[in-house]
């Protein structure tokens, strides 16, 4: 009569121990990956924050510069208009004086008109509104293209502000991701704790804690995936 071999069943203290070790190993690897992702997100947030601040400095400097330039350009343009009007007005006055046979008055008005016209002509050569073909009037009686001037003078500052806004948005996005990864890591720590408890316990309670740990691990992994994808 031959004996049939009885199946070897692990002792209660050793049951599911390998499963828990494997789960702990998986948790370690996932935690390591999430720690790496958190570190990367933090670095990206720092760099975006840096870029955002740098562009803010550049934009404020450019606004200051364009403000100074606009002030100079508009003052020059106002000077041109003022001197042209003065010249015209003095020419009218000279005509009136001539009609009134006031020779001295005519001469004085003519001198003033001449002076104002000379000043206006010179100021025109300084004015971007008359020298730059983008803004210069097409016909002699037309006004310069002020809208194009305003758009162009703000273009660089607007471009910098757009970059600054984009960098600030990036900063918020990466900072939020880095914070969320910290949340995942915290939950991973809970999973570690549960697997540690499961390792220490025996029997059914070991399995119960292992299942709790698995649920937590799955939830945390899902959250980490969501952070990574979105």
């Amino acid at each position: 009569m031959s004996e049939t071999p009885t199946p070897v069943t692990p002792e209660p203290a050793e049951r599911h121990k390998t499963l828990i070790v494997v789960l702990t190993l998986i948790t370690t690897i996932i935690t390591a990956i999430v720690a790496g992702l958190q570190s990367d997100a933090n670095i990206r947030a720092n760099n975006a924050n840096r870029d955002s601040q740098y562009y803010a400095v550049l934009a404020s400097g450019e606004l200051h510069r364009s403000g100074l330039q606009s002030s100079y350009d508009l003052n020059t343009f106002a000077g041109v208009v003022r001197e042209m009007q003065t010249s015209l007005m003095m020419q009218f006055t000279a005509l009136q004086s001539e009609q009134n046979t006031d020779k001295l008055g005519t001469a004085l008005s003519n001198i003033s008109a001449l002076a104002a016209q000379a000043r206006a002509d010179k100021l025109k050569s300084f004015s971007i509104f008359y020298t730059d073909p983008r803004y210069a009037p097409i016909n002699a009686d037309d006004m310069p293209n002020a809208e194009a001037y305003v758009a162009n003078s703000n273009a660089k500052a607007n471009e910098l502000v757009e970059k600054q806004n984009a960098a600030a948005d990036d900063y918020h996005a990466w900072s939020s991701k880095a914070d969320s990864y910290v949340g995942v890591l915290t939950i991973m720590a809970v999973a570690f704790f549960l697997f540690g408890l499961a390792q220490a316990l025996t029997g059914r309670m070991r399995l119960v804690f292992a299942i709790f740990g698995m649920v937590i691990l799955l939830g945390a992994s899902g959250w980490a995936m969501l952070i990574l994808i979105v």
């Binding site: 070790v21 702990t24 190993l25 370690t28 690897i29 390591a32 990956i33 720690a35 790496g36 570190s39 990367d40 670095i43 720092n46 760099n47 840096r50 601040q53 740098y54 400095v57 550049l58 404020s60 400097g61 200051h64 510069r65 100074l68 330039q69 002030s71 100079y72 003052n75 020059t76 000077g79 001469a107 003519n110 001198i111 001449l114 002076a115 016209q117 000379a118 000043r119 002509d121 010179k122 100021l123 050569s125 300084f126 020298t131």
Partner: protein
């Protein structure tokens, strides 16, 4: 024989020593990664400080340029008036021009200095080269002109990049520590396998760390 080796107290001690060494290495690696992160932060801070200084200097240079441009413009406009008077047939205007040229223009020219006095700023159309004046003002402060925020940001990028790779190294060391701990706890045949895996990952982590340090050390021209 394998069983004897597995249960040998000497192996226990050996694994304990390896765990201690790996723990110290991990702590040093984490410290180095933290140091690199700090260096990146310092470079960012330096870059931002330089950017503010440079931008403030640029703003002041532009303000000065336009202030001088206003004075120079006044001189040019009055000069044009004087020339118009001189070319007119009116005796009173000619007399006025003579006095203006003698008493008024020299003072206006001094106020508009250096745009009105230095020929290099005078353009062919009688206006002034403001870009050139601004460039000269920038060049007159070599310390501020030499500030380069972009260079600091580039350095911070290098440190950040190094930090990323060092973090991977720290993770490798942490994984090695886990396998070694597993080996210490186990009494089965797999003990030697887990020990070999742990030591293998540790050595790989060490080589990784060394390579990362070496590459970034040479990229930065020898700076830690």
């Amino acid at each position: 024989m394998l069983k004897r080796l597995n249960e040998s107290p000497r192996l226990d001690i050996f694994i304990a020593i390896v765990i201690a060494v790996v723990s110290v290495t991990t702590a040093l690696a984490a410290w180095r990664a933290s140091m690199v992160s700090s260096a990146a932060g310092d470079a960012i801070r330096q870059g931002l400080v330089d950017a503010v200084k440079k931008q403030t200097a640029a703003s002041e240079d532009w303000r000065k340029t336009y202030e001088e441009a206003g004075h120079a413009q006044t001189y040019a406009v009055v000069l044009a008036q004087v020339e118009a008077f001189e070319n007119s047939n009116d005796k009173a205007a000619q007399d006025q021009a003579k006095n203006m040229r003698q008493y008024l223009l020299p003072n206006l020219q001094l106020i508009g200095d250096p745009l009105t006095t230095d020929e290099k700023y005078l353009k062919s159309d009688g206006t002034y080269d403001l870009e050139r004046r601004y460039a000269d003002l920038v060049a007159s402060s070599p310390d501020l002109a030499a500030l380069d925020p972009e260079a600091s940001f580039k350095l911070s990028d290098q440190y950040s990049s190094e930090q990323r790779w060092l973090t991977v190294g720290v993770i490798l060391l942490a994984i090695s520590l886990f396998w070694l701990a597993l080996s210490q706890l186990s009494m089965k045949r797999s003990r030697l396998v887990t020990l070999a895996i742990g030591v293998g990952i540790y050595l790989f982590g060490l080589i990784w760390f060394g390579l990362v340090e070496l590459i970034f050390f040479s990229v930065r021209g020898g700076a830690l």
